[in-house]
């Protein structure tokens, strides 16, 4: 699940990724004509709305893509970088940038594109922007108050407008399409040209526009991956019919005492229940945390088998099923509850003096296993805990 950095792709390789996406970025910008200052200025004088068309389309495409990826569990939206809101610096900085745009005819990204193909005015712009950056650093005390004021944090616009993300996406797409239509009319009026939009093109645009709304509808109305998994792992029918691999307390005790290095014993109850009693060498992964990134490694590995237990059948079974979705580890279920295991292997009652041979044998066997497990717990007390990975949110910024 994305973002792939820093778990699946290292921070160092991320720099290579930066280079590659930059190449894509620069290529498309130049292809669109953003290397021409006259095209850029055209936005403000009505004779060329390319900037608006490209920008709006790109923004809406990426926005719908992000929603779709989040819905299908491809991207973890809680970890992506959201530009923080500093109200005054956004407004004042934006105003200064706008003035710079109209005087200089570029913005930083486009100036670099244009400079790459040889435009001298773009190179002058880049030079100027370097001076501007330096000037800001040197005059920082002047700006400090505005720069740090009104820090609202990573607020979403949908939250501010009191809309759901879906509603905002629909609105923005609709506004974009309307803007495309009207700027087309304005462009024709200002340049006194009648640019023909062929029927073929018009159909393509209509299909694209419809597709945008269809994708938003998918996010709005179809169950998300999270919801689908939840309903499947909770369904009572599935709990009855699924071929769980089950073990008894005796079998599990044997595994712990003899094969501890080949298994994970996972207590899926709450931390408080775990604290009051847990099986020897068991680790605690509460049910709600199974899909958390910090436990990912346990479910993806194929070396140790995972043994799940809880106090209620449904909880343990749900954990087992969730683990199937999280990875390919071998999973087993303890048939008994933790109480049952505790009765058999903790403070075992000695059998009555004239008990049958069978009962005596069981008692000795369990006693031996219990002692071995206790020894292991003592020996492993520090080594056994898996190191939980801290979930790190992406860092961004300009």
């Amino acid at each position: 699940m994305g973002p792939l950095v820093p778990y699946i792709i290292s921070n160092e390789f991320n720099l290579v990724i930066a280079l590659l996406v930059g190449i894509g970025f620069g290529f498309v910008l130049e292809q669109a004509g953003f290397s021409s200052t006259k095209k850029l200025a055209g936005l403000f004088y009505g004779y060329d709305f390319t900037v608006l068309k490209v920008f709006f389309t790109a923004g809406v495409t990426a926005m719908i893509g992000v929603l779709l990826f989040g819905h299908w569990g491809i991207l973890d939206l809680s970890l992506i970088y959201i530009n923080p809101t500093f109200l005054w610096s956004a407004l004042v900085g934006g105003a200064i940038m706008g003035l710079g745009f109209i005087i200089g005819g570029f913005c930083p990204g486009t100036s670099i594109c244009a400079a790459a193909i040889g435009k001298l005015d773009a190179m002058a712009f880049v030079f100027g922007s370097a001076l501007g950056v330096f000037a800001f650093a040197e005059s920082y005390p002047l700006w400090e108050d505005i720069y740090l004021a009104e820090n609202w944090g990573p607020v979403l616009i949908s939250e501010q407008l009191n809309l759901s993300k879906i509603t905002f996406a629909v609105l923005l797409t609709a506004v974009a399409i309307a803007a495309f239509y009207f700027t087309h009319l304005i462009e024709n009026k200002v340049t006194k040209r009648q640019t023909e939009v062929t029927k073929n093109k018009r159909n393509n645009y209509a299909i694209a526009g419809a597709l945008a709304f269809v994708l938003i509808a998918i996010v709005a109305f179809s169950p998300s991956k999270e919801e689908m998994i939840e309903s499947r792992v909770s369904s009572p029918k599935r709990h009855q019919e699924y071929p769980f691999k089950e073990v008894t307390s005796d079998q599990l005790a044997f595994e712990i005492a003899r094969n501890f290095h080949q298994i994970n014993v996972i207590d899926v109850r709450s931390p408080e229940e775990y604290e009051s009693y847990h099986l020897p060498l068991a680790i605690n992964i509460p049910l709600e945390e199974i899909d958390d990134r910090k436990w990912e490694k346990i479910f993806k590995q194929k070396i140790k088998a995972n043994y799940f237990y809880a106090d209620h059948d449904s909880v343990a079974k749900k954990a087992y099923l969730l683990s199937n979705y999280a990875g390919k580890s071998a999973n087993y279920l303890l048939k008994d509850s933790s109480f049952d295991f505790r009765k058999l292997y903790s403070n075992i009652e000695a059998p009555v003096p004239n008990a049958s041979k069978e009962v005596m044998n069981s008692y000795n066997y369990r006693q031996k296993l219990a002692i071995d497990m206790e020894k292991l717990v003592e020996a492993m007390s520090n080594l056994n805990k898996p190191v939980p990975i801290k979930t790190v949110a992406a860092k961004g910024g300009c």
Binding site: N14, V54, T57, I80, I96, L99, I103, G104, C398
Partner: protein, 171 residues
């Protein structure tokens, strides 16, 4: 050779949106540009004037938080990529060449001066606004960031406001 025509803007927009989406999926962050200029400029300053850097709070702070300089900066590498990508596009579309564009009523000299002045303002503004059109506006729209969209509206609103006063540069 005649330059090839520009790509259909909507197609370019979709492609750009997909590049941005891919970037967010892989790295969790969006694209940007002004930050790269910042990292190069401030690295140069701290190398050429280390004493001054140590005495200026803003510079000192930046140097401490970014010990690797541009070579460890994501945006720096991205911008190098932009240079390469734009260059490739320019080459295959026959748009290479040392030249400049300006409005018909001004001289080349005026254009260059305006470019430097505009660049200066944008450089300053982008630092204050914590991003430029690529970083705040485009990437902000993709993740529905309020700050990003506000910055975008401020940039374009201001541009439209001042457009009349500077029309001689373009029309």
């Amino acid at each position: 050779m005649k330059p090839k025509p520009y790509m259909n803007p909507y197609l370019a927009g979709v492609l750009l949106g997909l590049v941005l989406l891919l970037t967010i999926y892989i790295t969790g962050r969006g694209l940007g540009a002004s930050g790269a200029v910042k990292s190069v400029v401030l690295e140069m300053v701290s190398n050429l004037a280390p004493e001054h850097t140590a005495n200026t709070a803003y510079l000192k702070n930046y140097a401490e938080n970014n010990p690797g300089g541009p070579l460890k900066d994501w945006l720096f590498f991205e911008v190098v990529g932009v240079l390469i990508g734009a260059f490739l596009s320019g080459v295959i579309s026959n748009r290479m060449g040392l030249k400049l564009e300006r409005g018909p009523k001004i001289t080349n000299r005026t254009r260059i001066i305006a470019a430097i002045a505009g660049g200066f303002l944008f450089g300053l503004g982008s630092q204050l606004g914590r991003g430029c059109t690529s970083g705040s506006a485009l990437s902000g729209m993709a993740v529905m960031s309020f700050g990003g969209i506000i910055t975008m509206l401020a940039i374009f609103g201001s541009g439209y406001f001042f457009a009349y006063f500077f029309r001689k540069l373009w029309l």
